[in-house]
Symmetry: C2
Subunit: 250 residues, 2 copies
């Protein structure tokens, strides 16, 4: 049996009672830390449950055979920061489980998608989510930006996930993302465009700031993870809510 | 102090350790049951924490004053099935809290949005979410359907939330939703179009079925909550994953 358990956004305290029951009966516990980032160290959970947790890398999860061999006779848990299947990275585990007739159960949790609604924007007005990758000198993919422009044109807000490179300990900041965006010539998303910086969402030190790109780009937002929400034209109620919650009057 | 706590998708076991700590110190606990549905009775949580939970209706939550008066001297919890802010119904509580200088903290949890990625479809290929309302004889709003068609045209999948009327104990079934869709004349989403029925997502008796509308419309999917996902054209990898996980070959 394999359980893929979402750990939520901040610490081991975000796991559910159901997840805790599973961890108690687990024979082996793995922690996958390359698709997202847990704010607090995994050692806190190790201490809390009194069992060792093995950190595994992309290769070991993607080779999979590894887990399935063990899962024939053991209860295996794979812990994932946030919620497990959003990035579809782990959907291969479900497929393999079917093929090998080994049950794979997913325990969902909160993820960055929970930001929908929190900003005062209607969840129904969110369009396609995009990922902003680190540009290099000779690699500047612009499809994410075209998707943002299409969303704006259709009146839809865009949640932008920012690149993470765990091996290099690089997590794209709001500032880096905004610099990349400003480097793309266009008539819509310029210095005066107002966006939301969303930092450490769901943690006690969560910080959300709404302002023009030129304002936000100067702020030090602190530790990762950071995200951006680029709103399209808001309707009257959205404007009011955003102003009340994140406007300059507060 | 007010905490708005997401209960997740199935039972009290889906609350987090952090939520449990808050419930233990709470002076008064309310349960809001009209924006979503918890699969298991709230009495299970009452028994588990050994405290009474007051069920409150839309009026009492929306009048708000009620909670804020109590919150001046007490720790108040408002429990919400799923996750609190997705529907923006409760964002008024955040605004009021700011105005009255009473802290309002939100504890996020899994919600129907966690279906993204679970079907084998890329999360990034999901467009605008829609709600399908119950049609009446003289009220047949079609904006949801236009949004589905726009998503399809743009190559984006649509998560469709189905109407709930808690006071009348009516929760729209997949069958009712599909019947309403077929009643709308169009050349795209017809009997042969393949969609996903998503039933009791996140519960142990979760049931997901992929098939043509004419196939699905005949199936009894059991208890609420039901949702639909209407995919647009899938890419090669999505097709493979969907076939492996939900195709007829299994």
């Amino acid at each position: 049996m394999i359980y893929i358990i979402g750990m939520g956004l901040d610490s081991y305290k975000d796991i559910s009672l159901r997840s805790l029951e599973i961890l108690k009966k687990a024979d082996k516990i793995y922690f996958e830390n390359y698709t997202s980032l847990q704010q607090k160290p995994i050692s806190q959970l190790e201490e809390y449950i009194g069992k060792p947790i093995v950190i595994c890398n992309r290769d070991s999860v993607e080779s999979e055979d590894f887990f399935f061999k063990e899962a024939l006779d053991n209860v295996i848990v794979i812990l994932v920061a946030g919620t497990p299947l959003f990035a579809t990275t782990h959907i291969g585990l479900l497929v393999k489980g079917r093929e090998m007739n080994i049950p794979v159960e997913v325990i969902h949790n909160a993820s960055i998608l929970n930001i929908y609604g929190c900003l005062g924007l209607y969840s129904y007005h969110h369009g396609k989510t995009v990922s902003i990758p680190y540009f290099t000198e000779d690699w500047r993919p612009l499809s994410f930006f075209n998707n943002i422009l299409t969303n704006i044109k259709c009146g839809l807000h865009t949640l932008c996930l920012l690149d993470i490179k765990v091996d290099e300990n690089r997590y794209m900041s709001v500032n880096e993302a905004l610099n990349q965006i400003l480097s793309i010539k266009n008539d819509v998303v310029n210095e005066k465009y107002k966006v939301f910086a969303v930092c450490r969402f769901g943690s006690p030190d969560q910080f959300i700031k709404y302002g023009t790109i030129e304002e936000l780009i100067k702020i030090n937002f602190g530790k990762p993870l950071h995200s951006l929400v680029i709103p399209a034209q808001m309707d009257t109620i959205e404007k009011e809510l955003v102003e009340e919650l994140y406007g300059n009057k507060l």
